[in-house]
Symmetry: C2
DNA sequence: CCACAATTTTTCAGTGACTACAAATTTGGT
DNA sequence: ACCAAATTTGTAGTCACTGAAAAATTGTGG
Protein backbone atom coordinates (compact mmCIF):
# COMPACT_ATOMS: atom_id res chain seq x y z
CA UNK A 1 0.00 0.00 0.00
CA UNK A 2 2.25 2.78 -1.24
CA UNK A 3 -0.63 5.08 -2.18
CA UNK A 4 -1.51 7.93 0.12
CA UNK A 5 -5.09 8.94 0.72
CA UNK A 6 -4.96 11.68 -1.87
CA UNK A 7 -3.52 9.52 -4.61
CA UNK A 8 -5.92 7.68 -6.79
CA UNK A 9 -5.68 4.11 -7.79
CA UNK A 10 -4.67 3.33 -11.32
CA UNK A 11 -8.22 2.23 -11.94
CA UNK A 12 -9.67 5.49 -10.71
CA UNK A 13 -7.19 7.51 -12.75
CA UNK A 14 -7.99 5.61 -15.90
CA UNK A 15 -11.68 6.04 -15.33
CA UNK A 16 -11.31 9.79 -15.02
CA UNK A 17 -9.11 9.91 -18.06
CA UNK A 18 -11.63 7.96 -20.08
CA UNK A 19 -14.51 10.09 -18.93
CA UNK A 20 -12.59 13.24 -19.75
CA UNK A 21 -11.54 11.90 -23.14
CA UNK A 22 -15.16 11.15 -24.02
CA UNK A 23 -16.36 14.53 -22.80
CA UNK A 24 -13.65 16.34 -24.74
CA UNK A 25 -14.30 14.37 -27.90
CA UNK A 26 -18.01 15.08 -27.61
CA UNK A 27 -17.55 18.79 -27.02
CA UNK A 28 -15.19 19.09 -29.95
CA UNK A 29 -17.64 17.41 -32.28
CA UNK A 30 -20.62 19.34 -30.92
CA UNK A 31 -18.82 22.64 -31.44
CA UNK A 32 -17.87 21.74 -34.99
CA UNK A 33 -21.11 20.17 -36.22
CA UNK A 34 -23.89 20.95 -33.74
CA UNK A 35 -25.51 18.72 -31.13
CA UNK A 36 -28.09 17.02 -33.30
CA UNK A 37 -25.71 16.33 -36.15
CA UNK A 38 -23.31 14.33 -34.01
CA UNK A 39 -24.18 10.73 -33.16
CA UNK A 40 -23.10 8.98 -30.01
CA UNK A 41 -21.33 6.44 -32.21
CA UNK A 42 -19.19 9.24 -33.66
CA UNK A 43 -18.34 10.47 -30.19
CA UNK A 44 -17.34 6.96 -29.22
CA UNK A 45 -15.13 6.59 -32.26
CA UNK A 46 -13.49 9.97 -31.64
CA UNK A 47 -12.80 9.02 -28.03
CA UNK A 48 -11.67 5.56 -29.11
CA UNK A 49 -14.09 3.66 -26.92
CA UNK A 50 -17.18 1.61 -27.56
CA UNK A 51 -20.65 3.14 -27.61
CA UNK A 52 -21.56 1.27 -24.46
CA UNK A 53 -18.65 2.83 -22.63
CA UNK A 54 -20.03 6.25 -23.48
CA UNK A 55 -23.36 5.28 -21.98
CA UNK A 56 -21.52 3.80 -19.06
CA UNK A 57 -20.29 7.27 -18.09
CA UNK A 58 -23.17 9.40 -19.36
CA UNK A 59 -26.75 8.29 -18.95
CA UNK A 60 -27.94 10.28 -21.96
CA UNK A 61 -26.51 12.12 -24.93
CA UNK A 62 -27.64 15.40 -23.34
CA UNK A 63 -25.49 14.69 -20.30
CA UNK A 64 -22.49 14.72 -22.60
CA UNK A 65 -23.26 18.31 -23.42
CA UNK A 66 -24.13 19.38 -19.90
CA UNK A 67 -21.16 17.65 -18.27
CA UNK A 68 -19.51 20.86 -17.26
CA UNK A 69 -22.86 22.26 -16.33
CA UNK A 70 -22.36 25.98 -15.90
CA UNK A 71 -25.72 25.76 -14.22
CA UNK A 72 -24.79 24.63 -10.73
CA UNK A 73 -28.02 23.52 -9.13
CA UNK A 74 -27.19 24.59 -5.63
CA UNK A 75 -26.11 28.02 -6.72
CA UNK A 76 -29.17 30.12 -5.85
CA UNK A 77 -29.86 28.14 -2.70
CA UNK A 78 -26.33 28.80 -1.46
CA UNK A 79 -26.66 32.47 -2.28
CA UNK A 80 -29.71 32.69 -0.06
CA UNK A 81 -28.20 30.68 2.78
CA UNK A 82 -25.00 32.73 2.77
CA UNK A 83 -26.55 36.15 2.42
CA UNK A 84 -25.56 38.90 4.84
CA UNK A 85 -27.75 39.30 7.91
CA UNK A 86 -30.70 41.58 7.39
CA UNK A 87 -30.67 41.11 3.65
CA UNK A 88 -33.72 39.58 2.01
CA UNK A 89 -33.50 36.65 -0.39
CA UNK A 90 -34.56 38.68 -3.41
CA UNK A 91 -32.08 41.37 -2.53
CA UNK A 92 -29.25 38.88 -2.28
CA UNK A 93 -30.06 37.44 -5.67
CA UNK A 94 -30.74 40.84 -7.16
CA UNK A 95 -27.37 42.16 -6.08
CA UNK A 96 -25.59 39.04 -7.26
CA UNK A 97 -27.31 39.11 -10.61
CA UNK A 98 -26.53 42.75 -11.23
CA UNK A 99 -22.94 42.17 -10.22
CA UNK A 100 -22.72 39.30 -12.66
CA UNK A 101 -24.10 41.44 -15.47
CA UNK A 102 -21.66 44.23 -14.72
CA UNK A 103 -18.66 41.92 -14.50
CA UNK A 104 -19.83 39.73 -17.41
CA UNK A 105 -19.53 36.71 -15.18
CA UNK A 106 -20.47 33.26 -16.40
CA UNK A 107 -22.65 32.31 -13.44
CA UNK A 108 -25.76 33.64 -15.17
CA UNK A 109 -24.42 33.02 -18.64
CA UNK A 110 -23.16 36.54 -19.28
CA UNK A 111 -19.63 35.70 -20.34
CA UNK A 112 -18.64 36.32 -23.95
CA UNK A 113 -18.03 32.61 -24.57
CA UNK A 114 -21.56 31.63 -23.54
CA UNK A 115 -22.94 32.56 -26.94
CA UNK A 116 -22.44 29.35 -28.83
CA UNK A 117 -23.56 27.36 -25.81
CA UNK A 118 -26.96 29.03 -25.72
CA UNK A 119 -27.18 28.96 -29.48
CA UNK A 120 -26.65 25.22 -29.41
CA UNK A 121 -29.26 24.74 -26.69
CA UNK A 122 -31.74 26.87 -28.60
CA UNK A 123 -31.15 24.79 -31.72
CA UNK A 124 -31.88 21.46 -30.08
CA UNK A 125 -35.26 20.63 -28.51
CA UNK A 126 -33.67 17.76 -26.62
CA UNK A 127 -31.10 20.07 -25.06
CA UNK A 128 -33.70 22.71 -24.30
CA UNK A 129 -35.73 20.14 -22.41
CA UNK A 130 -32.66 19.01 -20.49
CA UNK A 131 -31.79 22.57 -19.51
CA UNK A 132 -35.36 23.14 -18.41
CA UNK A 133 -35.03 20.17 -16.08
CA UNK A 134 -31.87 21.73 -14.64
CA UNK A 135 -33.76 24.95 -14.04
CA UNK A 136 -36.48 23.03 -12.24
CA UNK A 137 -33.93 21.37 -10.02
CA UNK A 138 -32.35 24.74 -9.27
CA UNK A 139 -35.76 26.15 -8.41
CA UNK A 140 -36.53 23.29 -6.06
CA UNK A 141 -33.29 23.74 -4.18
CA UNK A 142 -33.99 27.44 -3.88
CA UNK A 143 -37.46 26.68 -2.55
CA UNK A 144 -35.96 24.31 0.01
CA UNK A 145 -33.46 26.94 1.11
CA UNK A 146 -36.17 29.55 1.44
CA UNK A 147 -38.34 27.16 3.45
CA UNK A 148 -35.42 26.58 5.81
CA UNK A 149 -34.67 30.24 6.23
CA UNK A 150 -38.28 31.18 6.84
CA UNK A 151 -38.68 27.99 8.79
CA UNK A 152 -42.00 27.41 7.20
CA UNK A 153 -44.47 24.55 7.49
CA UNK A 154 -43.94 21.78 4.97
CA UNK A 155 -47.32 22.61 3.49
CA UNK A 156 -46.68 26.34 3.27
CA UNK A 157 -46.62 27.23 -0.38
CA UNK A 158 -44.90 30.58 0.12
CA UNK A 159 -41.30 29.41 -0.35
CA UNK A 160 -42.26 27.53 -3.49
CA UNK A 161 -44.09 30.55 -4.84
CA UNK A 162 -41.23 32.90 -4.06
CA UNK A 163 -38.70 30.54 -5.62
CA UNK A 164 -40.84 30.14 -8.71
CA UNK A 165 -41.17 33.88 -9.16
CA UNK A 166 -37.49 34.56 -8.65
CA UNK A 167 -36.52 31.86 -11.11
CA UNK A 168 -39.12 33.02 -13.62
CA UNK A 169 -37.64 36.51 -13.46
CA UNK A 170 -34.10 35.28 -13.92
CA UNK A 171 -35.10 33.14 -16.88
CA UNK A 172 -36.93 35.96 -18.62
CA UNK A 173 -33.92 38.23 -18.17
CA UNK A 174 -31.35 35.76 -19.47
CA UNK A 175 -33.57 34.44 -22.25
CA UNK A 176 -34.09 38.00 -23.44
CA UNK A 177 -30.39 38.69 -23.51
CA UNK A 178 -29.59 35.57 -25.49
CA UNK A 179 -32.52 36.02 -27.84
CA UNK A 180 -31.18 39.43 -28.74
CA UNK A 181 -27.71 38.00 -29.09
CA UNK A 182 -28.97 35.41 -31.55
CA UNK A 183 -30.67 38.22 -33.44
CA UNK A 184 -27.23 39.71 -33.96
CA UNK A 185 -27.14 42.53 -31.44
CA UNK A 186 -23.80 43.39 -29.87
CA UNK A 187 -23.12 41.73 -26.55
CA UNK A 188 -22.03 44.98 -24.92
CA UNK A 189 -25.20 46.79 -25.95
CA UNK A 190 -27.37 43.99 -24.66
CA UNK A 191 -25.63 43.83 -21.31
CA UNK A 192 -25.80 47.57 -20.75
CA UNK A 193 -29.52 47.40 -21.39
CA UNK A 194 -30.00 44.23 -19.36
CA UNK A 195 -28.65 46.05 -16.36
CA UNK A 196 -31.44 48.59 -16.53
CA UNK A 197 -34.06 45.98 -17.36
CA UNK A 198 -32.98 43.91 -14.39
CA UNK A 199 -33.53 46.76 -11.97
CA UNK A 200 -37.04 47.13 -13.27
CA UNK A 201 -37.64 43.38 -13.18
CA UNK A 202 -36.55 43.00 -9.58
CA UNK A 203 -38.63 45.98 -8.53
CA UNK A 204 -41.61 44.24 -10.05
CA UNK A 205 -40.68 41.10 -8.21
CA UNK A 206 -40.36 42.82 -4.88
CA UNK A 207 -43.36 45.09 -5.07
CA UNK A 208 -45.74 42.95 -7.09
CA UNK A 209 -47.25 43.13 -10.50
CA UNK A 210 -50.21 44.92 -8.96
CA UNK A 211 -52.94 45.78 -11.40
CA UNK A 212 -50.88 45.56 -14.56
CA UNK A 213 -51.71 46.52 -17.22
CA UNK A 214 -54.44 48.82 -15.95
CA UNK A 215 -52.22 51.46 -14.48
CA UNK A 216 -49.06 52.66 -16.11
CA UNK A 217 -46.33 51.95 -13.64
CA UNK B 1 -71.00 19.28 -57.01
CA UNK B 2 -73.77 17.98 -54.83
CA UNK B 3 -72.02 18.61 -51.55
CA UNK B 4 -73.02 21.62 -49.52
CA UNK B 5 -70.46 23.72 -47.73
CA UNK B 6 -71.09 22.11 -44.39
CA UNK B 7 -70.88 18.57 -45.65
CA UNK B 8 -67.51 16.98 -45.70
CA UNK B 9 -66.14 15.00 -48.55
CA UNK B 10 -65.89 11.28 -48.09
CA UNK B 11 -62.15 11.72 -47.95
CA UNK B 12 -62.36 14.26 -45.16
CA UNK B 13 -64.79 12.14 -43.19
CA UNK B 14 -62.59 9.09 -43.46
CA UNK B 15 -59.57 11.05 -42.37
CA UNK B 16 -61.34 12.28 -39.26
CA UNK B 17 -62.60 8.80 -38.52
CA UNK B 18 -59.12 7.38 -38.85
CA UNK B 19 -57.60 10.05 -36.67
CA UNK B 20 -60.25 9.53 -34.03
CA UNK B 21 -59.84 5.78 -34.17
CA UNK B 22 -56.10 6.11 -33.62
CA UNK B 23 -56.54 8.60 -30.79
CA UNK B 24 -59.14 6.40 -29.10
CA UNK B 25 -57.06 3.28 -29.45
CA UNK B 26 -54.05 5.11 -28.02
CA UNK B 27 -55.94 6.52 -25.06
CA UNK B 28 -57.44 3.14 -24.27
CA UNK B 29 -54.04 1.50 -24.23
CA UNK B 30 -52.41 4.34 -22.30
CA UNK B 31 -55.10 4.17 -19.63
CA UNK B 32 -54.72 0.43 -19.29
CA UNK B 33 -50.94 0.08 -19.38
CA UNK B 34 -49.35 3.52 -18.97
CA UNK B 35 -47.75 5.77 -21.57
CA UNK B 36 -44.26 4.30 -21.59
CA UNK B 37 -45.43 0.71 -21.68
CA UNK B 38 -47.41 1.17 -24.88
CA UNK B 39 -45.55 1.19 -28.20
CA UNK B 40 -46.69 3.08 -31.25
CA UNK B 41 -46.78 -0.24 -33.07
CA UNK B 42 -49.35 -1.49 -30.56
CA UNK B 43 -51.44 1.61 -31.02
CA UNK B 44 -51.31 1.10 -34.76
CA UNK B 45 -52.40 -2.51 -34.44
CA UNK B 46 -55.25 -1.59 -32.09
CA UNK B 47 -56.42 1.09 -34.51
CA UNK B 48 -55.94 -1.29 -37.43
CA UNK B 49 -53.64 0.99 -39.39
CA UNK B 50 -49.95 0.96 -40.19
CA UNK B 51 -47.38 2.61 -37.98
CA UNK B 52 -46.70 5.13 -40.72
CA UNK B 53 -50.33 6.21 -40.70
CA UNK B 54 -50.11 6.94 -36.99
CA UNK B 55 -47.13 9.20 -37.61
CA UNK B 56 -49.00 10.71 -40.52
CA UNK B 57 -51.59 12.12 -38.10
CA UNK B 58 -49.44 12.65 -35.01
CA UNK B 59 -45.93 13.99 -35.27
CA UNK B 60 -44.81 12.33 -32.04
CA UNK B 61 -46.04 9.74 -29.59
CA UNK B 62 -46.59 12.51 -27.04
CA UNK B 63 -49.06 14.19 -29.39
CA UNK B 64 -51.17 11.07 -29.20
CA UNK B 65 -51.58 11.66 -25.50
CA UNK B 66 -52.10 15.40 -25.71
CA UNK B 67 -54.53 15.24 -28.61
CA UNK B 68 -57.46 16.47 -26.60
CA UNK B 69 -55.21 18.91 -24.88
CA UNK B 70 -57.12 20.17 -21.87
CA UNK B 71 -54.45 22.81 -21.85
CA UNK B 72 -55.75 25.24 -24.45
CA UNK B 73 -52.85 27.51 -25.25
CA UNK B 74 -54.90 30.62 -25.88
CA UNK B 75 -56.84 30.22 -22.69
CA UNK B 76 -55.11 32.71 -20.39
CA UNK B 77 -54.57 35.20 -23.20
CA UNK B 78 -58.29 35.17 -24.00
CA UNK B 79 -59.11 35.61 -20.35
CA UNK B 80 -57.04 38.77 -20.24
CA UNK B 81 -58.37 40.14 -23.50
CA UNK B 82 -61.98 39.55 -22.49
CA UNK B 83 -61.78 40.78 -18.93
CA UNK B 84 -64.30 43.32 -17.68
CA UNK B 85 -63.27 46.97 -17.96
CA UNK B 86 -61.34 48.24 -14.98
CA UNK B 87 -60.22 44.77 -13.97
CA UNK B 88 -56.51 44.01 -13.93
CA UNK B 89 -55.01 40.99 -15.65
CA UNK B 90 -54.05 39.30 -12.40
CA UNK B 91 -57.49 39.91 -10.99
CA UNK B 92 -59.16 38.39 -14.02
CA UNK B 93 -57.04 35.27 -13.78
CA UNK B 94 -57.31 35.15 -10.01
CA UNK B 95 -61.09 35.23 -10.11
CA UNK B 96 -61.21 32.67 -12.88
CA UNK B 97 -58.86 30.34 -11.07
CA UNK B 98 -60.74 30.55 -7.80
CA UNK B 99 -63.98 29.97 -9.62
CA UNK B 100 -62.50 26.91 -11.27
CA UNK B 101 -61.35 25.53 -7.94
CA UNK B 102 -64.75 26.08 -6.38
CA UNK B 103 -66.65 24.52 -9.27
CA UNK B 104 -64.06 21.75 -9.78
CA UNK B 105 -63.77 22.75 -13.38
CA UNK B 106 -61.35 21.04 -15.73
CA UNK B 107 -59.78 24.20 -17.16
CA UNK B 108 -57.07 24.21 -14.53
CA UNK B 109 -57.16 20.46 -14.07
CA UNK B 110 -59.42 20.43 -11.02
CA UNK B 111 -61.99 17.97 -12.24
CA UNK B 112 -62.19 14.57 -10.54
CA UNK B 113 -61.19 12.76 -13.72
CA UNK B 114 -57.94 14.69 -14.09
CA UNK B 115 -56.19 12.46 -11.60
CA UNK B 116 -54.96 9.68 -13.82
CA UNK B 117 -53.99 12.21 -16.48
CA UNK B 118 -51.57 14.01 -14.18
CA UNK B 119 -50.40 10.73 -12.71
CA UNK B 120 -49.54 9.55 -16.19
CA UNK B 121 -47.70 12.77 -17.03
CA UNK B 122 -45.77 12.60 -13.77
CA UNK B 123 -44.74 9.04 -14.56
CA UNK B 124 -43.30 9.83 -17.98
CA UNK B 125 -40.37 12.22 -18.48
CA UNK B 126 -41.23 12.48 -22.15
CA UNK B 127 -44.77 13.57 -21.35
CA UNK B 128 -43.60 15.96 -18.66
CA UNK B 129 -41.33 17.66 -21.17
CA UNK B 130 -44.16 17.89 -23.69
CA UNK B 131 -46.49 19.45 -21.13
CA UNK B 132 -43.78 21.91 -20.15
CA UNK B 133 -43.60 22.99 -23.78
CA UNK B 134 -47.35 23.55 -23.74
CA UNK B 135 -47.00 25.70 -20.63
CA UNK B 136 -44.32 27.74 -22.35
CA UNK B 137 -46.55 28.30 -25.33
CA UNK B 138 -49.39 29.33 -23.05
CA UNK B 139 -47.08 31.75 -21.24
CA UNK B 140 -45.95 33.32 -24.49
CA UNK B 141 -49.50 33.90 -25.66
CA UNK B 142 -50.30 35.47 -22.33
CA UNK B 143 -47.26 37.72 -22.63
CA UNK B 144 -48.38 38.75 -26.11
CA UNK B 145 -51.87 39.55 -24.84
CA UNK B 146 -50.49 41.59 -21.97
CA UNK B 147 -48.19 43.49 -24.30
CA UNK B 148 -51.18 44.34 -26.48
CA UNK B 149 -53.31 45.46 -23.58
CA UNK B 150 -50.59 47.62 -22.09
CA UNK B 151 -49.54 48.59 -25.56
CA UNK B 152 -45.95 48.21 -24.62
CA UNK B 153 -42.78 48.59 -26.62
CA UNK B 154 -41.58 45.38 -28.24
CA UNK B 155 -38.48 45.56 -26.06
CA UNK B 156 -40.38 46.18 -22.85
CA UNK B 157 -39.83 43.17 -20.67
CA UNK B 158 -42.72 43.91 -18.33
CA UNK B 159 -45.40 41.86 -20.09
CA UNK B 160 -43.04 38.90 -20.29
CA UNK B 161 -42.18 39.23 -16.63
CA UNK B 162 -45.79 39.54 -15.58
CA UNK B 163 -46.79 36.56 -17.70
CA UNK B 164 -43.93 34.49 -16.32
CA UNK B 165 -44.91 35.26 -12.74
CA UNK B 166 -48.58 34.57 -13.28
CA UNK B 167 -47.82 31.25 -14.95
CA UNK B 168 -45.30 30.33 -12.28
CA UNK B 169 -47.93 30.91 -9.63
CA UNK B 170 -50.54 28.84 -11.44
CA UNK B 171 -48.11 25.99 -11.93
CA UNK B 172 -47.05 25.93 -8.29
CA UNK B 173 -50.70 25.86 -7.23
CA UNK B 174 -51.75 23.06 -9.55
CA UNK B 175 -48.59 21.03 -9.05
CA UNK B 176 -49.10 21.18 -5.33
CA UNK B 177 -52.66 19.96 -5.62
CA UNK B 178 -51.72 17.03 -7.82
CA UNK B 179 -48.68 16.14 -5.75
CA UNK B 180 -50.91 15.82 -2.73
CA UNK B 181 -53.38 13.80 -4.74
CA UNK B 182 -50.68 11.38 -5.75
CA UNK B 183 -49.71 11.12 -2.10
CA UNK B 184 -53.21 9.80 -1.46
CA UNK B 185 -54.97 12.82 0.02
CA UNK B 186 -58.68 13.21 -0.68
CA UNK B 187 -59.52 15.44 -3.62
CA UNK B 188 -62.11 17.40 -1.64
CA UNK B 189 -59.68 18.17 1.15
CA UNK B 190 -57.03 19.32 -1.26
CA UNK B 191 -59.39 21.59 -3.14
CA UNK B 192 -60.75 23.22 -0.03
CA UNK B 193 -57.21 23.98 1.03
CA UNK B 194 -56.11 25.05 -2.44
CA UNK B 195 -58.77 27.72 -2.35
CA UNK B 196 -57.17 29.32 0.69
CA UNK B 197 -53.66 28.81 -0.63
CA UNK B 198 -54.60 30.45 -3.90
CA UNK B 199 -55.79 33.61 -2.18
CA UNK B 200 -52.44 33.84 -0.47
CA UNK B 201 -50.54 33.10 -3.66
CA UNK B 202 -52.31 35.77 -5.68
CA UNK B 203 -51.82 38.32 -2.91
CA UNK B 204 -48.12 37.60 -3.09
CA UNK B 205 -48.26 37.97 -6.84
CA UNK B 206 -50.02 41.29 -6.69
CA UNK B 207 -48.14 42.86 -3.85
CA UNK B 208 -44.72 41.38 -4.35
CA UNK B 209 -42.57 38.95 -2.48
CA UNK B 210 -41.01 41.89 -0.68
CA UNK B 211 -38.22 40.95 1.68
CA UNK B 212 -39.18 37.35 2.20
CA UNK B 213 -38.07 35.57 4.29
CA UNK B 214 -36.79 38.36 6.53
CA UNK B 215 -40.13 39.63 7.69
CA UNK B 216 -42.97 37.31 8.61
CA UNK B 217 -45.80 38.29 6.34
C1' DC C 1 5.36 -13.82 -10.40
C1' DC C 2 1.10 -16.38 -10.22
C1' DA C 3 -3.54 -17.34 -9.35
C1' DC C 4 -7.98 -15.38 -8.39
C1' DA C 5 -11.43 -11.80 -7.57
C1' DA C 6 -13.38 -7.41 -8.81
C1' DT C 7 -14.07 -4.05 -12.13
C1' DT C 8 -14.24 -2.14 -16.60
C1' DT C 9 -14.73 -2.56 -21.51
C1' DT C 10 -16.33 -4.62 -25.48
C1' DT C 11 -19.23 -7.48 -28.37
C1' DC C 12 -23.59 -9.01 -29.64
C1' DA C 13 -28.21 -8.69 -30.14
C1' DG C 14 -31.94 -6.38 -29.34
C1' DT C 15 -36.16 -2.48 -28.70
C1' DG C 16 -38.58 1.49 -30.01
C1' DA C 17 -39.34 6.19 -31.95
C1' DC C 18 -39.07 8.18 -36.03
C1' DT C 19 -37.87 9.07 -41.30
C1' DA C 20 -37.62 8.65 -46.44
C1' DC C 21 -39.45 6.74 -50.36
C1' DA C 22 -41.62 3.94 -53.65
C1' DA C 23 -45.55 0.95 -54.45
C1' DA C 24 -50.33 -0.02 -53.68
C1' DT C 25 -54.89 1.53 -52.56
C1' DT C 26 -58.71 4.71 -52.26
C1' DT C 27 -61.27 8.75 -53.60
C1' DG C 28 -62.82 12.80 -56.63
C1' DG C 29 -64.10 14.26 -60.90
C1' DT C 30 -65.15 13.50 -65.71
C1' DA D 1 -64.71 3.37 -66.65
C1' DC D 2 -60.73 6.20 -66.51
C1' DC D 3 -57.26 9.39 -64.86
C1' DA D 4 -55.23 12.40 -61.34
C1' DA D 5 -54.65 13.43 -56.60
C1' DA D 6 -54.55 12.10 -51.94
C1' DT D 7 -53.94 8.52 -48.58
C1' DT D 8 -52.12 4.29 -46.87
C1' DT D 9 -48.84 0.75 -46.69
C1' DG D 10 -44.38 -1.86 -47.02
C1' DT D 11 -39.58 -1.66 -46.92
C1' DA D 12 -35.51 -0.32 -45.26
C1' DG D 13 -33.04 2.43 -42.59
C1' DT D 14 -31.02 5.73 -38.56
C1' DC D 15 -30.24 6.63 -33.91
C1' DA D 16 -30.64 6.64 -28.81
C1' DC D 17 -30.56 3.46 -25.48
C1' DT D 18 -30.66 -1.37 -22.95
C1' DG D 19 -29.30 -6.04 -21.35
C1' DA D 20 -26.23 -9.70 -20.84
C1' DA D 21 -22.33 -12.45 -21.57
C1' DA D 22 -17.51 -12.66 -23.08
C1' DA D 23 -13.01 -10.48 -22.89
C1' DA D 24 -9.61 -7.49 -21.13
C1' DT D 25 -7.73 -4.98 -17.25
C1' DT D 26 -6.59 -4.02 -12.52
C1' DG D 27 -6.22 -5.09 -7.45
C1' DT D 28 -4.65 -8.55 -3.99
C1' DG D 29 -2.88 -12.28 -1.37
C1' DG D 30 0.41 -15.64 -1.45
Amino acid sequence: MTAMAEELSLRERKKRETRQRISDAAMGLFMRHGFDKVTVAEVARAADVSVNTVFNYFKTKEELFLDRRDTAEEFLAELVRNRAPGVSAVRAIRDDFLDAVRTRHWRYGFNPGADWWHQMVADSPALTAAVTRLHEARQEKLAAALADEADADPDDLTPRLVAAQICATLIVLTEQAHRRRRAGEAWEDILADTEKKAERAFDLLEHGIGDYPERVR
